[in-house]
């Protein structure tokens, strides 16, 4: 099946990277940001939650970006949206008088109410993202950011996060909260601007979960989604001429002395492990394609793990490759 109608990942305004915890959302976000900056785009990459990882992945010496953000590389800004800071900024824009806003945000009862209230963190974060997407460049030559990348929270919550505008619209009858939620929803649902980029592992349970996720995003939330990133794929372990190398190794004398090489018994186990993981990844990549109806882009599993800019740049071309269906 040919993969048509996909535009390049770099052709979006807003890319929301989502998926189950541990699938590599942060790696994908950082890689896409780097690729976009190298392609000459003005790019902003956003993290949420407690920790900040992307600046360090792109440059081990990078300072903490925080809410104010920080230019990590030419054309590439990173920031972390803290909901309370976003709220203070929003209230400042609404009321103009900073002193009132500060008094309110510092008010203990107000903080208690906000800390206990679910949902607003997601909404204010999305509102801030919406606001950032509206900014113009200083010289008014176009948008301030050509591409905004959001490293979203893990799946269960990641989907709830995108669902908050809809929930607010149905719960709140009128007022600015509803209006803001509608604006955010319009941005999310605009296929010319926004893409959800799911990241999965080619394993049984993650494959099933990504099917649920893509289904909800497409059908319930009506947000555009055009491919699945399959991360940490173990490539073919043996030369094509030797598909059963692990079995051949197992037929040798297991304790044969091989000097500094491990004995055949150990070699056979290593080979069997790599082959099993490779075949498992193939099988579930195919299943992801079948259950989601989406083509995939595969990123290789790097033996040393993701440590910094070396690994991130080595993944760029694989991430930007056209999504494909397995033959």
């Amino acid at each position: 099946m040919a993969a048509s109608a996909q535009r390049s990942l770099l052709g979006n305004r807003l890319v929301i990277v989502t998926g189950k915890g541990g699938t590599g959302k942060t790696t994908v976000s950082a890689t896409l940001a780097l690729a976009a900056a190298r392609a000459g785009l003005r790019v902003l990459v956003i993290e949420m939650g407690h920790g900040e990882q992307i600046p360090r992945l792109l440059d081990p010496q990078a300072p903490v970006a925080g809410y104010a953000g920080c230019e990590i590389l030419p054309g590439l800004r990173a920031m972390r949206i803290d909901p309370f800071e976003a709220l203070a900024e929003y209230l400042g824009l609404q009321f103009g008088v900073r002193a009132i806003v500060d008094a309110v945000v510092r008010n203990k009862a107000f903080r208690q109410l906000m800390t206990a209230s679910p949902g607003w963190r997601e909404l204010i974060t999305l509102g801030k993202i919406w606001h950032l997407a509206q900014l113009d460049a200083k010289d008014a030559s176009g948008p301030r950011f050509d591409l905004i990348i959001v490293d979203a929270p893990a799946t269960g919550h990641g989907v709830a996060f995108l669902d908050v505008p809809r929930v607010v619209i149905s719960a709140v009858r009128a007022g600015p909260l509803r209006k803001n939620a509608q604006r955010v929803e319009r941005l999310l649902e605009d296929p010319d601007q926004t893409l959800v980029l799911p990241v999965a592992l080619a394993e049984e349970l993650p494959a099933r979960e990504i099917a649920e996720l893509t289904d909800r995003v497409r059908n319930e939330m009506n947000i555009s989604i055009d491919r699945v990133i399959v991360n940490a794929v173990v490539g073919p372990p043996f030369p094509d001429a030797l598909p059963d190398l692990d079995e051949a190794l197992a037929r040798l004398d297991g304790d044969l002395e091989l000097g500094a090489l491990p004995p055949p018994r150990v070699l056979a186990r290593c080979a069997h492990y790599l082959r099993s993981r490779h075949e498992l990844n193939r099988r579930f990549t195919a299943e992801i394609q079948e259950t989601t109806g989406l083509p995939t882009v595969e990123l290789p599993r790097l033996p040393e793990g993701i440590q910094g800019p070396d690994q991130i740049s080595s993944l760029m071309s694989a991430l930007l490759a056209d999504p494909v269906f397995l033959a």
Binding site: G21, H50, L113, A160, S170, D253, L261, P262, G305
Partner: protein
């Protein structure tokens, strides 16, 4: 791996084990395997998952898990070496049902109950909004422990960012219910009219004005109505919330940190440890899941010390075993690359885990490794294999 006395003590002495850790580390699997191991030791064990993704039902081979514990059948327990006095149940948190059950239990009468059920704020909180899962999870843990039906409840938690929300949930809700603002909102004058604002002193007026500008009039009225309805049961809830907190932070409970392999996972786990320590939480130990181990239990050999003569011996062995037609040289070289590649993974995993391991062992907590198997754990026999590793009855990796 030898048996682990600290882990043995945890399984025999504690009544609640909370598995915390980063998303994707395998908390659900490890929680279920811990419960299975406790059952094998004759306990009545229950595993509760509060992860919104429906993983546990798959792993336990139970078709659908509801909001009430579902027992694994005796036939299956027999195949898993669970003795007669032991059993294993599983429950999947249903956020809305748990909220509804709580309201049922605490509401003064049917009218009060129905008023809460009908309130739009309640419907959203109990149904859809991110964060509500933590409130109901702590309620469920308490309910299950209080039922007395289980010797041990093993709790799976949502991903790291939210796992401490779960611990904070009781106190947060109490703070909220006790806050002046809530007292204002449930003031009858406020409910009667938004001009009720005037009754409050200026600081509070200001907060209410901001909230109203932010949310719209309807929202505050709904919120006020919800809080009035909820207030009727608040004293009952307050008592429960305190009990939940005492239970989770008290001597009957302990925490196990589940980490994944690799640099990112171990860094997350280290951050997580810092935060747990900040809470004064007693950690029983760390289980590193899906780590790659070298098959012979020794350290993987260094590729640099290899000589071409070694590969030639392997080539000749292939030739003797597979026949003259076999591409023996290619096979021997490929086998060498396989060993190099796998050894690289093993060394990387061990290297990243080492600082965490030293810290954990210095604290007197247990440290355990569960290897990545050649296929993923998604059924009971897989869980049994994980439980074997946790208990130290493992095969060779």
């Amino acid at each position: 791996m030898k048996s682990n006395p600290k882990l043995d003590a945890m399984l025999s002495d504690r009544e609640i084990i909370v598995c915390v850790g980063c998303g994707g580390a395998g908390k659900t699997t490890v929680a279920a395997a811990l419960a299975l191991e406790a059952a094998r030791r004759g306990k009545k064990a229950l595993v509760l998952t509060i992860d919104p993704a429906r993983r546990l039902a798959d792993a336990l081979g139970v078709e659908s898990l509801g909001n009430q514990p579902e027992a694994i059948s005796r036939d299956i327990l027999d195949t898993l070496d669970v003795p007669q006095q032991g059993n294993l149940s599983a429950v999947m948190l249903d956020t809305k049902r748990t909220f509804d059950d709580l309201v049922e239990r605490l509401a003064e009468n049917e009218e009060a109950r129905d008023r809460i059920f009908a309130n739009s704020i309640y419907q959203q909180i109990s149904n859809a909004l991110a964060g509500s899962v933590e409130y109901s999870a702590m309620e469920k843990v308490f309910e299950l422990h209080e039922s007395g039906a289980f010797d041990l409840v093993v709790v799976d938690t949502p991903p790291a960012q939210h796992a401490l929300d779960f611990l904070e949930a009781p106190q947060r809700l109490l703070d909220f219910l006790d806050s002046r603002l809530v007292k204002m909102l449930i003031h009858p004058a406020f409910a009667a009219s938004r001009f009720g604002f005037r009754l409050f002193h200026r600081g509070t007026q200001r907060v209410l004005q901001v909230l109203e500008r932010l949310t719209g009039i309807g929202f505050l009225e709904d919120l006020s109505e919800f809080l009035i309805a909820f207030d009727a049961m608040a004293s009952g809830y307050r008592g429960r919330a305190h009990s939940v907190q005492d239970l989770l932070l008290g001597p009957k409970s302990t925490f196990v940190l589940v980490a994944g392999p690799g640099m990112e996972s171990t860094r997350h786990a280290t951050d997580f440890l810092d935060r747990l320590e900040g809470y004064g939480i007693s950690l029983a130990g760390v289980l590193v899941n899906r780590i790659r181990l070298w098959p012979s239990r020794s350290a993987p050999p260094e590729a640099a010390t290899r000589e071409s003569a070694d590969v030639e011996v392997l080539r000749d062995a292939f030739r003797a075993s597979e026949g003259a037609e076999y591409p023996a040289q290619l096979a021997a070289e490929a086998a060498e690359r396989v060993a190099t590649r796998y050894a690289e993974w093993v060394r990387a995993d061990a290297g990243f885990a080492q600082p965490l391991r030293e810290r954990i062992e210095a604290q007197g907590c247990f440290w355990g490794c569960i290897p990545e198997f050649e296929k993923d754990v998604h059924d009971l026999s897989g869980l049994a294999r994980v439980a074997d590793w946790i208990a130290g009855k493992d095969e060779e990796p």
